[in-house]
């Protein structure tokens, strides 16, 4: 993500910068060449510096930490922590040993959770966006209501969910008339997924609603005249036209959901139930509970690699698909 953020505006700025033009009064003696090429960079400098400070430096420090034996015995002077080579990584990916096996379990839980959460968020988002495309009374109100979860502070919202999922006094059980546990045991996975979908889908809704505005109405009219039904219209016009929006949307949803820390932490605290042991919490436990920051950093670095890989493959596949479709 980071490198994309950096590059995209840089290229854009470079293109739109004033190119050439007649020589004006030269107050400052900056060569034209440098001025033309340098201005975008100058404008970008504050953003770059902050990006460096807030994103890249901690990332690099984290990766360095992954190669150190940074336990509680060294955190006071972590420059002196011995280099561990690839030991931390070896422990993390040794899936026959308990620590690796737990990480792998947590990884699969996270994958399943992400696929479900992103899938349902997208499905709800696209359904609601299509249904609300036609004007009708109360559309504005409904839109506002649908966007509420996105506007609420995460903490307040998730803590409220935690209350609703309580066994004895919770709203969920009294509505369903059951007496199951939601915050411990197997159901915790579903509690987590429900909250994640609830929290995420308004964003999908918002993005897709914006995307729908760009589809010319004539297309639908022409299709209707040709006798296409509503399903055919959705399949042949709406979804293909939304492809560029979807490409970015699904990726962003995937990254956010996969890395989500707040939702599981607020629902379960430390010591998440096994069924809902997401990798972000797992890494937190592996560094802040064991105080073995080297091992936790190694797991983070592996996660970063995985997400980069998925992102790269995804972008490659989707852009190739789109180019093919465009041609």
């Amino acid at each position: 993500m980071t490198s994309l953020d950096l590059k995209a505006p840089a290229a854009g700025e470079a293109l739109s910068s004033p190119a050439g033009g007649p020589p004006r009064r030269r107050r400052l003696r900056i060569p034209d060449r440098l001025r033309r090429g340098g201005l975008p960079y100058l404008l970008l400098l504050p953003a770059l510096a902050l990006e460096l400070l807030i994103h890249l430096v901690p990332m690099v420090v984290g990766i360095v930490m992954a190669f150190k034996e940074l336990t509680q015995f060294y955190i006071r002077d972590w420059g002196s922590a011995p280099w561990a080579g690839f030991d931390n990584f070896r422990v993390a990916v040794d899936f026959d040993a308990p620590i690796g096996a737990e990480l792998l379990h947590s990884f699969w839980v996270t994958c399943t959770f992400t696929v479900l959460a992103v899938g349902f968020s997208w499905l709800f988002g696209v359904t609601a966006a299509i249904l609300m495309q036609e004007g009708f009374r109360g559309r504005g109100v409904l839109r506002a209501v649908f966007l509420t979860p996105y506007a609420l502070p995460v903490y307040a919202a998730v803590i409220t969910w935690a209350f609703m999922f309580q066994r004895d006094n919770g709203l969920v059980n009294s509505a369903l008339g059951g007496d199951s546990f939601w915050l411990i045991g197997e159901n915790s996975f579903w509690a987590l997924t429900i909250v994640a979908v609830w929290k995420t889908w308004p964003f999908a809704f918002l993005m897709l609603m914006a995307g729908l505005q760009n589809i010319p109405r004539e297309l639908y009219e022409a299709a209707a005249i040709d006798g296409a039904g509503i399903w055919q219209q959705i399949r042949r016009i709406t979804l293909p036209s939304l492809a560029p929006v979807n490409q970015v949307l699904v990726l962003v949803l995937f990254l956010w959901t996969f890395n989500d820390f707040n939702t599981p932490y607020l629902l379960f605290g430390k010591g998440a139930p096994e069924a809902a042991d997401l990798v972000s919490i797992h890494i937190y436990d592996s560094s802040f509970i064991t105080w073995n920051f080297g091992s936790g950093s190694a797991m983070s670095a592996l996660l970063l690699l995985f997400l980069l890989l998925v992102t790269a493959v995804y972008l490659l596949l989707t852009s190739r698909g789109r180019k093919g479709a465009d041609a």
Binding site: V57, F181, I289
Partner: protein, 439 residues
Amino acid sequence: MRHIRAAAATALVLALTATAAACGGGTATNGEGSNKSPKKLTYWASNQGPSIEADKEILTKEIAKFEKQTGIDVELEVVPWADLLNRILAATSSGQGPDVLNIGNTWSASLQATGALLPWDDKTFDRIGGRDRFTESAVAATGAEGKDPAAVPLYSLSYALYYNKKIFKDAGIEKPPATWDELVAAGKKVTKGDTYGLALEGSNLSNHIHQAFVLAKQHGADFFTADGKPDFTSDGAVAGVKQWVDFMAKDKITSKSVAEYAQNQSLSDFSKGKAAMVLWQAAASTFKSQGMDESEYGVAPVPVQSGTPGQGEQINSMVAGINVSVFKNSDNLDGAIDFVKFLTSDEEQKILNSTYGSIPPVKAAQQDAAFDKPDTSVLRDALGTSAAPLPQVPEESQFETVVGTAIKDLFADAAAGRPVTTESVKAALAKAEQQMTKS
């Protein structure tokens, strides 16, 4: 254009490495302490009272006395429990910490291992009146055995059995249970409808550890060997954990709902009369705030397997409490030690501990009439005769998390009606033991 891009890339990499190098090292943090600023101190206090604000008020009043005596300006910050350990870790790794701070006594050995805290050798102890001023059990919870303590005991607590007098009387139970068999029998007698014998916190990891530790001890087992290796699957440890979970799984004297309790709901169950018994440390102020009068409940020592509480297999509580430590790289070491001396003086010990409902670890202060109340006298006796500190090993917080989570999962099993057997307990503990990384 290409040149500029290359130059920009090089500059970026250079800046990155420079910043990384500047952040790295951390060499500034291992500077030793000094007395460079003798007129200033920072104190991080843990949250002992009903709220942060209340604590500030209580402590500011006391600290003013110290400021007047010494002319040292003390900057107080009350840190909530949820943040305290992470704040200490951050302070340790950055070197930007307070001069004096409170720590949970179970963290002593872990924090001792970081080397960030001033070791209290005999000479340093003499400056605050000597090690003998403190109870033995409290000093045992200040660091690993055989090393100079990393902290000094400040407030002590222990567990007691709180019981609802009316429920007991209605069921014809004349005296509080002294053994676990009696507790289970009493629990079964009063469990009917919405009322249960015992309330506990099934999702509170620390609480599980406190109980499992005591029960394992009573079965002759320790969770760590003498040389500090984890040993979670001994027969005694398994029996201890199983006994704790069995209150729900086999004896059925707790409500199933308690499996998800972690925010002191068990205390409100007790004060509402939904549970007849609860095992807790100094719960009087909570019950009072929930509208339960002191006369409505009784306080008794935590049961043992048989006989009477004592040492070894007869312990009935962990030594709970708060210690006070000095950061080794303080710029006012003498002032910091003087401040610890002030906090642990007989006079301040009486005032602070009676305010907070805890027991002074200072022997002379302990005998004050303020601690003769029904509940505090039980806590005091336990601390004096039948409490032992949790394992003082560097991996303590990891132990709490992995074993605590294992027990939490066992309670989830019990609540879902799945059987909890010796084998399933042993398997859960074996898995927990494997999670303990070498450090």
